[in-house]
Protein backbone atom coordinates (compact mmCIF):
# COMPACT_ATOMS: atom_id res chain seq x y z
CA UNK A 1 0.00 0.00 0.00
CA UNK A 2 1.64 3.18 -1.24
CA UNK A 3 0.71 6.33 0.68
CA UNK A 4 0.91 8.62 -2.33
CA UNK A 5 -1.29 6.30 -4.40
CA UNK A 6 -3.86 6.04 -1.61
CA UNK A 7 -3.94 9.81 -1.09
CA UNK A 8 -4.34 10.25 -4.85
CA UNK A 9 -7.32 7.95 -4.91
CA UNK A 10 -8.93 9.64 -1.91
CA UNK A 11 -8.52 12.93 -3.77
CA UNK A 12 -10.14 11.39 -6.84
CA UNK A 13 -13.01 10.18 -4.69
CA UNK A 14 -13.52 13.71 -3.33
CA UNK A 15 -13.84 15.01 -6.89
CA UNK A 16 -17.37 13.64 -6.80
CA UNK A 17 -18.31 16.53 -4.49
CA UNK A 18 -19.14 19.51 -6.66
CA UNK A 19 -17.30 22.70 -5.72
CA UNK A 20 -14.88 21.12 -3.25
CA UNK A 21 -11.35 22.04 -4.28
CA UNK A 22 -8.47 19.62 -3.80
CA UNK A 23 -5.29 21.70 -3.76
CA UNK A 24 -2.00 19.84 -4.08
CA UNK A 25 0.10 19.30 -0.98
CA UNK A 26 2.10 22.36 0.05
CA UNK A 27 0.37 25.11 -1.93
CA UNK A 28 0.78 28.52 -0.35
CA UNK A 29 -2.75 29.72 -0.90
CA UNK A 30 -6.07 27.98 -1.04
CA UNK A 31 -9.60 29.02 -1.83
CA UNK A 32 -12.28 27.53 0.37
CA UNK A 33 -13.96 25.13 0.34
CA UNK A 34 -10.94 22.90 0.01
CA UNK A 35 -9.98 19.41 1.11
CA UNK A 36 -6.43 18.69 2.20
CA UNK A 37 -5.27 15.13 2.60
CA UNK A 38 -2.78 15.10 5.44
CA UNK A 39 -0.27 12.43 6.43
CA UNK A 40 -1.44 9.44 8.45
CA UNK A 41 -0.89 9.47 12.18
CA UNK A 42 1.11 6.27 11.71
CA UNK A 43 1.38 3.18 9.54
CA UNK A 44 0.85 -0.21 11.15
CA UNK A 45 2.86 -2.76 9.19
CA UNK A 46 2.46 -6.55 9.18
CA UNK A 47 -1.19 -6.92 10.05
CA UNK A 48 -0.97 -10.47 8.75
CA UNK A 49 1.81 -12.96 8.05
CA UNK A 50 4.30 -12.53 5.21
CA UNK A 51 3.65 -8.81 4.63
CA UNK A 52 0.04 -9.69 3.93
CA UNK A 53 -1.47 -6.37 5.03
CA UNK A 54 -0.69 -2.89 6.31
CA UNK A 55 -3.03 -0.46 8.02
CA UNK A 56 -3.38 3.31 8.27
CA UNK A 57 -5.48 3.69 11.41
CA UNK A 58 -5.95 7.43 10.92
CA UNK A 59 -5.48 9.30 7.66
CA UNK A 60 -6.91 12.82 8.20
CA UNK A 61 -8.75 14.68 5.47
CA UNK A 62 -9.19 18.31 6.45
CA UNK A 63 -12.00 20.23 4.80
CA UNK A 64 -11.69 24.02 5.17
CA UNK A 65 -14.89 25.91 4.50
CA UNK A 66 -14.73 29.57 5.47
CA UNK A 67 -14.41 32.05 8.29
CA UNK A 68 -15.01 30.33 11.63
CA UNK A 69 -17.82 32.60 12.78
CA UNK A 70 -19.77 32.83 9.54
CA UNK A 71 -23.21 31.28 9.44
CA UNK A 72 -22.59 30.08 5.87
CA UNK A 73 -19.42 28.30 6.99
CA UNK A 74 -21.28 26.38 9.67
CA UNK A 75 -23.95 25.42 7.16
CA UNK A 76 -21.33 24.30 4.65
CA UNK A 77 -19.36 22.22 7.12
CA UNK A 78 -22.55 20.49 8.23
CA UNK A 79 -23.22 19.39 4.66
CA UNK A 80 -19.71 17.97 4.28
CA UNK A 81 -20.06 16.14 7.60
CA UNK A 82 -23.41 14.63 6.68
CA UNK A 83 -23.33 10.84 6.49
CA UNK A 84 -25.04 10.93 3.11
CA UNK A 85 -25.96 13.39 0.40
CA UNK A 86 -24.30 15.19 -2.48
CA UNK A 87 -21.80 17.01 -0.24
CA UNK A 88 -21.10 14.12 2.11
CA UNK A 89 -17.36 13.49 2.42
CA UNK A 90 -18.00 10.09 3.99
CA UNK A 91 -20.33 9.04 1.18
CA UNK A 92 -17.97 10.24 -1.55
CA UNK A 93 -14.88 8.61 -0.10
CA UNK A 94 -16.58 5.30 0.62
CA UNK A 95 -18.35 5.12 -2.75
CA UNK A 96 -15.07 5.02 -4.66
CA UNK A 97 -13.65 1.71 -5.86
CA UNK A 98 -10.03 1.65 -4.75
CA UNK A 99 -7.17 -0.19 -6.39
CA UNK A 100 -4.35 1.14 -4.20
CA UNK A 101 -5.84 -0.40 -1.05
CA UNK A 102 -8.58 -2.81 0.00
CA UNK A 103 -10.76 -0.88 2.41
CA UNK A 104 -11.35 2.80 3.15
CA UNK A 105 -13.76 3.83 5.88
CA UNK A 106 -14.43 7.31 7.22
CA UNK A 107 -14.52 6.35 10.87
CA UNK A 108 -15.21 9.69 12.52
CA UNK A 109 -15.06 13.45 12.13
CA UNK A 110 -14.38 16.40 14.35
CA UNK A 111 -14.60 20.15 14.03
CA UNK A 112 -12.01 22.79 14.70
CA UNK A 113 -10.61 26.11 13.64
CA UNK A 114 -7.61 25.63 11.37
CA UNK A 115 -5.12 28.15 10.16
CA UNK A 116 -3.78 27.84 6.61
CA UNK A 117 -1.35 30.39 5.13
CA UNK A 118 -2.22 32.79 7.91
CA UNK A 119 -5.98 32.58 7.45
CA UNK A 120 -8.39 31.00 9.92
CA UNK A 121 -10.97 28.57 8.60
CA UNK A 122 -13.76 26.54 10.09
CA UNK A 123 -12.68 22.98 9.46
CA UNK A 124 -14.08 19.48 9.53
CA UNK A 125 -11.41 16.86 10.02
CA UNK A 126 -12.35 13.41 8.76
CA UNK A 127 -10.42 10.42 10.05
CA UNK A 128 -10.01 7.55 7.57
CA UNK A 129 -9.30 3.95 8.52
CA UNK A 130 -7.50 2.27 5.61
CA UNK A 131 -6.36 -1.30 5.10
CA UNK A 132 -4.46 -2.73 2.16
CA UNK A 133 -1.90 -5.22 0.99
CA UNK A 134 1.49 -5.13 2.66
CA UNK A 135 3.55 -6.12 -0.33
Amino acid sequence: MNLEAVAGEVSTALAAISGLRRPPWGVERITAPAAIIALPERIDYDGTYRRGSDHYPDLPVIVLVGKPNERTARKAVAAYADGSGAKSVKAAIEAHTYISCDSVRVAWAEFDTAKYAGTDYLAAIFHLDITGKGA
Binding site: D46, T48, Y49, R50, R51, G52, S53, D102
Partner: protein, 134 residues
Protein backbone atom coordinates in the same frame (compact mmCIF):
# COMPACT_ATOMS: atom_id res chain seq x y z
CA UNK B 1 19.49 -19.40 19.67
CA UNK B 2 17.44 -16.36 18.91
CA UNK B 3 13.97 -14.97 19.31
CA UNK B 4 11.76 -15.45 16.27
CA UNK B 5 9.13 -12.98 15.13
CA UNK B 6 5.74 -14.37 14.17
CA UNK B 7 5.32 -12.26 11.03
CA UNK B 8 7.36 -14.71 8.93
CA UNK B 9 5.12 -17.70 9.70
CA UNK B 10 3.95 -19.61 6.63
CA UNK B 11 0.81 -21.76 6.58
CA UNK B 12 -0.59 -23.75 3.70
CA UNK B 13 -3.83 -25.71 3.69
CA UNK B 14 -4.42 -28.14 0.84
CA UNK B 15 -1.44 -26.52 -0.95
CA UNK B 16 -2.97 -23.00 -0.71
CA UNK B 17 -0.84 -20.39 1.04
CA UNK B 18 -3.19 -18.61 3.45
CA UNK B 19 -0.39 -16.79 5.30
CA UNK B 20 -1.20 -13.29 3.98
CA UNK B 21 -4.64 -13.53 5.61
CA UNK B 22 -3.43 -14.89 8.96
CA UNK B 23 -2.91 -12.74 12.03
CA UNK B 24 -2.48 -15.63 14.45
CA UNK B 25 -2.05 -19.39 14.51
CA UNK B 26 -1.55 -21.96 17.20
CA UNK B 27 -0.30 -25.54 17.23
CA UNK B 28 -1.14 -27.63 20.29
CA UNK B 29 0.37 -31.08 20.68
CA UNK B 30 -0.88 -33.41 23.37
CA UNK B 31 -0.59 -37.01 24.49
CA UNK B 32 -2.75 -39.37 26.47
CA UNK B 33 -1.39 -40.22 29.87
CA UNK B 34 -2.15 -43.67 31.31
CA UNK B 35 -2.11 -44.54 34.98
CA UNK B 36 0.25 -47.41 35.78
CA UNK B 37 0.19 -47.07 39.55
CA UNK B 38 0.38 -50.41 41.36
CA UNK B 39 -0.41 -51.43 44.94
CA UNK B 40 2.08 -50.24 47.49
CA UNK B 41 3.10 -47.08 45.64
CA UNK B 42 3.09 -43.73 47.41
CA UNK B 43 2.82 -41.71 44.22
CA UNK B 44 1.14 -42.17 40.85
CA UNK B 45 3.17 -43.65 38.06
CA UNK B 46 2.20 -42.86 34.51
CA UNK B 47 2.98 -43.79 30.95
CA UNK B 48 2.51 -41.86 27.77
CA UNK B 49 -0.08 -43.01 25.23
CA UNK B 50 -1.30 -41.92 21.84
CA UNK B 51 -0.36 -38.50 20.54
CA UNK B 52 -2.97 -35.99 19.50
CA UNK B 53 -3.04 -32.40 18.37
CA UNK B 54 -5.00 -29.37 17.30
CA UNK B 55 -4.18 -26.50 15.04
CA UNK B 56 -5.99 -23.19 14.77
CA UNK B 57 -5.46 -20.07 12.73
CA UNK B 58 -7.29 -16.87 11.92
CA UNK B 59 -6.94 -13.40 10.56
CA UNK B 60 -8.35 -10.88 8.13
CA UNK B 61 -10.98 -11.99 5.63
CA UNK B 62 -10.15 -11.44 1.97
CA UNK B 63 -12.54 -11.93 -0.93
CA UNK B 64 -10.36 -11.37 -3.95
CA UNK B 65 -7.82 -14.15 -4.11
CA UNK B 66 -8.53 -17.82 -4.67
CA UNK B 67 -6.41 -18.40 -1.60
CA UNK B 68 -8.60 -16.13 0.53
CA UNK B 69 -9.95 -17.93 3.58
CA UNK B 70 -13.52 -18.33 2.40
CA UNK B 71 -12.52 -19.81 -0.94
CA UNK B 72 -9.64 -21.83 0.45
CA UNK B 73 -11.19 -23.20 3.64
CA UNK B 74 -14.99 -23.13 3.71
CA UNK B 75 -15.43 -25.87 1.06
CA UNK B 76 -13.07 -28.11 3.03
CA UNK B 77 -15.13 -28.25 6.24
CA UNK B 78 -15.27 -31.82 7.52
CA UNK B 79 -12.63 -33.08 5.15
CA UNK B 80 -9.08 -34.23 5.83
CA UNK B 81 -6.49 -31.89 4.37
CA UNK B 82 -2.73 -31.54 4.41
CA UNK B 83 -1.47 -28.62 6.46
CA UNK B 84 2.08 -27.31 6.42
CA UNK B 85 3.45 -24.90 8.94
CA UNK B 86 6.76 -23.03 8.91
CA UNK B 87 6.92 -21.48 12.38
CA UNK B 88 10.14 -19.61 11.64
CA UNK B 89 9.34 -18.72 8.06
CA UNK B 90 10.94 -19.95 4.87
CA UNK B 91 14.66 -20.67 4.88
CA UNK B 92 17.21 -23.45 4.70
CA UNK B 93 17.45 -25.35 7.96
CA UNK B 94 14.28 -23.91 9.43
CA UNK B 95 11.56 -26.26 10.69
CA UNK B 96 8.65 -27.49 8.61
CA UNK B 97 5.70 -29.27 10.21
CA UNK B 98 3.46 -31.34 7.94
CA UNK B 99 0.32 -33.10 9.07
CA UNK B 100 -3.10 -34.29 8.02
CA UNK B 101 -6.03 -32.74 9.81
CA UNK B 102 -9.79 -32.54 9.70
CA UNK B 103 -11.04 -28.99 9.26
CA UNK B 104 -13.53 -29.04 12.12
CA UNK B 105 -14.58 -25.39 12.33
CA UNK B 106 -14.56 -22.30 10.12
CA UNK B 107 -15.82 -18.99 11.55
CA UNK B 108 -16.39 -15.58 9.94
CA UNK B 109 -16.95 -12.58 12.21
CA UNK B 110 -18.32 -9.25 10.99
CA UNK B 111 -17.92 -6.40 13.49
CA UNK B 112 -19.61 -3.14 12.56
CA UNK B 113 -16.50 -1.05 13.16
CA UNK B 114 -13.67 -3.19 11.87
CA UNK B 115 -12.55 -5.56 9.15
CA UNK B 116 -14.23 -8.93 8.69
CA UNK B 117 -12.20 -11.65 10.36
CA UNK B 118 -12.07 -15.43 10.09
CA UNK B 119 -10.77 -18.34 12.10
CA UNK B 120 -10.43 -22.08 11.58
CA UNK B 121 -9.79 -25.11 13.75
CA UNK B 122 -8.19 -28.38 12.70
CA UNK B 123 -8.11 -31.72 14.50
CA UNK B 124 -4.81 -33.34 13.65
CA UNK B 125 -4.98 -36.92 12.35
CA UNK B 126 -1.93 -39.15 12.84
CA UNK B 127 1.57 -37.87 13.55
CA UNK B 128 3.05 -34.47 12.83
CA UNK B 129 6.11 -34.85 10.65
CA UNK B 130 8.80 -32.33 11.43
CA UNK B 131 11.63 -31.81 8.95
CA UNK B 132 14.05 -29.04 8.18
CA UNK B 133 13.60 -27.03 5.03
CA UNK B 134 16.13 -27.72 2.27
Amino acid sequence: MAYVHGQFTVITVATKDISPYCKTSSYEGSAEVHQTTGYGKTAHTKQGGLLDGKFSCGGTYDNTASTGPRNALKPLLGTTVTVTRKPEGTGTGRPLDTFSAVLSKYVETNPVDDMVTWSAEFDISDVVTTTTQP
